[in-house]
């Protein structure tokens, strides 16, 4: 049996009976360990995601057991599978409905770059339509890789303000015409 580990406390001053830190650090820590993913699964990577959610790999261990099937309550948009060009506007619409802070994870070769589908009908990577935070390579990736992607999103989620106000994020939003 491994020991139960408690999450690391953020920086702050500590004394008997009190702990002082900034609110955004506490909120960031809470966010980090309770990300609600919105699975946008269109093909085989979605099957890998199902394995990731199931008991063997158990994404619940990382605080993401609560899937949100409404974009309005979701934190992470997980795009898993081939996105046809016709699906592009739909995906963008889903992204636009998500509230800030929001993150996007492109799972698998198709969502990242179009994969083997270099053809007239397939979007060559979802970053042609929406900004992407984490790319998970693989065709399809193993559940361990998807968990690794979630952990990287968690790392970003500790400081959502930093990312939201970054030049790069604003540039990408402007590029894709998302306000």
């Amino acid at each position: 049996m491994s020991e139960v580990k408690i999450g690391k406390a953020p920086e702050g001053s500590e004394g008997p009976g009190y702990f002082l830190t900034s609110l955004d650090k506490i909120v960031g820590m809470a966010r980090e360990n309770s990300l609600w993913p919105l699975p946008f699964a269109t093909s085989c990577c979605g099957i890998e995601f199902m394995a990731t959610m199931a008991s063997h790999y158990d994404l619940a261990r990382f605080g993401s057991e609560r899937l949100s099937f409404s974009p309005r309550q979701a934190d992470v948009l997980m795009v898993m599978g081939t996105i046809a060009k016709k699906m592009g506007p739909v995906l963008k619409h889903v992204y636009e409905q998500m509230a800030e802070p929001r993150w996007v994870m492109a799972v698998g070769a198709c969502a990242s770059s179009g994969g083997i589908f270099d053809t007239y009908s397939v979007l060559q990577g979802i970053d042609k339509v929406i900004p992407v935070d984490v790319y998970v390579p693989g065709c399809p990736p193993r559940p361990e890789q998807i968990i690794d992607g979630i952990l990287r999103i968690q790392h970003l989620a500790t400081e959502p303000l930093k990312r939201r106000s970054s030049e790069e994020y604003r540039r990408q939003l402007a590029e894709h015409g998302i306000i």
Binding site: K85, K86, S113, G114, D118, T119, Y120, S121, V122, Q124, K128
Partner: protein, 180 residues
């Protein structure tokens, strides 16, 4: 078991099919039945595209033919067949006697207009929309001829051979990435 090869033997294509049904069809439509042959066990007739609706109506409604089921309808593009670049292929099925028939018709690509089969088979509706979507073939008499699978704002017909299959916006397929 018969050996299946990619190539259809020449003599099989060229031989005029000795078949009572095909002979009846030829006696009805004469020179408008351009050719008749059998490949892979399916009887095939090539029909004048201007008479295609009459031929199909005859095949469906004449009791001895009884081809009541339209299995498939699709387009095809042979850019080298001058004047007959585009084609439509119909697969018919007589379910009572279990007979299948393939009907082919070809027409020039600069005037790709042909009668719609929707008055005969409602199933032709979506299949003709798909054929229009990919080959740009106009089906006259179709109730709602618009794209079905591709994006509405696509400005070409992607299955025509002059267009590339690849997307063209791909960034990771250049020589630098593959070390060439």
């Amino acid at each position: 078991m018969e050996e299946v090869t990619d190539k259809i033997p020449e003599e099989q294509i060229e031989s005029r099919l000795q078949d009572p049904l095909v002979e009846k069809l030829q006696s009805q439509f004469g020179e408008d039945i351009y050719n008749a042959y059998e490949t892979y066990g399916i009887k095939t007739v090539v029909v004048n595209h201007e008479r295609i609706f009459d031929v199909m109506k005859f095949l469906k409604e004449t009791p001895e033919f009884n081809f009541h089921f339209l299995t498939d309808e699709c387009g095809i593009h042979y850019p080298d067949n001058k004047g007959q670049e585009l084609g439509v292929v119909y697969h018919l099925h007589n379910m009572i006697q279990n007979i299948r028939l393939r009907v082919e018709t070809f027409f020039p690509s600069d005037n790709p207009v042909i009668n719609s089969m929707t008055p005969l088979w409602p199933a032709a509706n979506w299949m003709e929309r798909e054929t229009y979507d990919f080959y740009g073939i106009i089906f006259e008499g179709h109730p709602d001829l618009k794209r079905i699978l591709n994006m509405d704002d696509m400005d070409y017909f992607p299955m025509l051979k002059q267009y590339p299959l690849e997307d063209g916006t791909r960034e990771d397929k250049n020589d630098k990435m593959f070390g060439r």
